[in-house]
Symmetry: C2
């Protein structure tokens, strides 16, 4: 088995997936703000959506459609979230999907809409509809990079990656793209992700892989702790590569392919954090306690603490803030004397107190790096959870306070 | 019945309570950083402490002592939280209380210690012990203002208030002081509060009043959503004023006195938010839904959202962020079409969408005020909850990133 990971280079095309992008004037004049994805007839797809009780119109329509058909076309727009737009917003989303269905000879249920951008403004169908024929005509297997760019809102870079795994005579490929600059920024951005592979996987198995991968990637990142009205993630399998037997957990290729898909999810999730609003540092919080749910609760409390995040911004090895965050995590029976903490490889806390030869300049030097691992061991450990986050900077306040100025 | 509220003027003395302050060099040279409170022999007291699992040494000692005796002396220090200091920190706290007990001829259990300030450094008993005789000698019923000032860390103003209620021939008084500049700032500040009244109330009833008042005051404010290692709140009743019958829920004076105590708690809590780190605005979030717990969950989600808080800072009537925060509150069966929102008296959202004649300049003018009420009605309403918060500004990041620079 050989494995090749593609990060910032051109994403690898996936046979059965064609993409196009175009400018409809929703976001900024002259910049692409629409992306269309076409999936071959053999493709099966799975999808997950935001847990926010107030979901946007495209989420309502996409949920309905994916329940009724295999998706053939995905339409993404940036600049307008079509959220808080009530019944009219649902009509707008359906108007666009209906027109795409007409142009591509599909049923309306085979078209899924995704929107990201400002909340509470109607999506101008009259601007989008005329651009759709150009989009359909422009579909190309090399369209990934442009499509990833068209999805951007406050994102500073397009985010995509690919992986290729060769097993026996088969070459499996996974390529994904994502937009998002935080867990939620409901007036400017939300998370949208599309990942495709060429493997032969059924919809049922894809849904299972998707849920597990999302739990360990997009659900493990936090920029500001909110959750969005528009989040959506689609995983597709085009079945272009197969040895005649669909991949199931019993297939010998299953572990490698599932791991490759997981790698793409994790890489895309981390790329969101690196591009987090105002982020100057990428931070991995790793907690090892007696149970994975406890570890996750502690990691989340640390990663979401504004005081820990401002300390990270300031390169301040402020372990009191980390201890206090751990202490408020909803974990029973925790004692401060059970807690040890490392910044990267430098241990700062042993059993709740600074190590005997603690040198603040060393800890401060670690904190000054742009990639930091905060590692917590509770008791004997035994179950690890990871969360990725970024620091809280002036720039976060500026972006979110002045974005309309 | 007549009622007089004293805000920024001098706090009213409480018969049976004497206070003193002094400088021990813990915080800044030459500034008072120690406050001592002496309670008369008739005084009964109740106390509540932080819910953080990692509580500071003084909290451990105060909890122990208050379980064993009626407090006679409370010693507060600013500049050092005596937290994350392990067994040595407990010894330090006990060393100080033992010395105060010796000087005042009390038992050690009758002395409660309270600390606030930097985490993880030993409290220098050798600096504090020599100052204690001066503190004891300086006790005065007029010492409230100086004591409130001595408790300050990042607080920009001393915070205290009084209320006086005359019923028949009795004059009930309640005076309180508090320090805190946010829910938690474990390296710089934490919340400490002391409230005394001259009424005749048993410890059992005081504890009941305290728990209810804290639930509706200090537990209803958020600056940054964290909880502290050092939070403590003591409510004392000196019994100097009585018509011979202790106040119980059956006493005709009970409602007025309990309401007066509640007013002091609420006023002190709001004063913390107004003095919140970097705060430029005071924000009341009022939610009216079918149940008080739902209302509280929704109000908390709004008040803790960094996106709502940056919008408040920017005077941006960004209702999409408010809707998204409501949508992620853990409340079952909520529909966006149930939601109406007002900024002060200006309604912006009706049933999940902007009101028909919504004028953003009017909403922006409301948001530009320094006191803002965000009011949410869910469905028919029926149970109200209130949370007080402030905006998230550059100054919050600066204070918490650069405090040691």
């Amino acid at each position: 088995m050989t494995l090749k990971f593609v990060g910032s280079e051109s994403p690898l095309p996936i046979q059965g997936v064609r993409l196009a992008s175009a400018a409809a004037g929703i976001r900024h004049p002259g910049r692409d703000d629409l992306a269309l994805v076409e999936l071959s007839r053999t493709t099966e797809s799975a999808a997950v959506f935001t847990q926010n009780r107030f979901c946007a119109a495209p989420v309502i329509v996409a949920r309905e459609n994916v329940a009724n058909a295999q998706p053939r076309l995905l339409i993404f727009n940036a600049g307008n979230a079509n959220a808080g737009t009530g019944a009219k917003g649902v009509v707008d989303a359906r108007t666009i999907t209906a027109e795409i269905a007409r142009l591509t000879h599909c049923t309306q249920s085979e078209v899924l809409p995704f929107s990201t951008g400002v909340i509470g403004q109607r999506l101008e169908c009259s601007e989008i509809i005329p651009v759709l024929p150009e989009l359909v005509a422009g579909l190309s297997c090399d369209g990934w990079q442009a499509a990833a760019r068209a999805m951007m809102t406050t994102d500073t870079v397009p985010k995509y990656c690919s992986i290729e795994v060769k097993i026996e005579d088969l070459t499996y490929r996974v390529t994904g793209m994502v937009k998002g600059s935080g867990m939620i920024h409901p007036n400017m951005a939300t998370m949208l992700a599309f990942i495709a592979c060429n493997a032969d996987i059924s919809r049922t198995h894809l849904q299972q892989i998707l849920v597990e991968c999302v739990a360990r990637s997009f659900n493990r990142i936090t920029v500001d702790g909110d959750t969005s009205t528009n989040d959506a993630c689609v995983l597709s399998a085009t079945k272009a590569t197969s040895n005649g037997t669909p991949l199931t957990p019993h297939h010998s290729h299953w572990p490698a392919v599932v791991e490759a898909i997981g790698t793409i999810f994790e890489t895309l999730a981390k790329s969101i954090v690196r591009d987090g609003e105002g982020a100057t540092k990428f931070v991995e919080v790793v907690v090892d306690s007696g149970s994975e749910s406890d570890s996750l609760a502690i990691a989340t409390a640390i990663a979401q603490s504004p005081l820990v995040k401002t300390a990270l911004f300031a390169s301040d090895p402020n372990w009191g803030r980390i201890l206090a965050a751990i202490g408020r995590a909803p974990v029973a029976g925790m004692e401060i004397t059970d807690v040890s903490i490392w910044l990267n490889d430098y241990q700062i806390i042993v059993k709740g107190e600074p190590v005997d030869d603690y040198k603040e300049p060393i800890a401060a030097a670690v904190m000054a790096q742009t990639d930091i691992v905060v590692r917590v061991l509770l008791g004997e450990g035994g179950a690890v959870a990871r969360i990725w986050t970024c620091d809280l900077s002036y720039e976060y306040v500026r972006i979110n306070a002045e974005y309309r100025a």
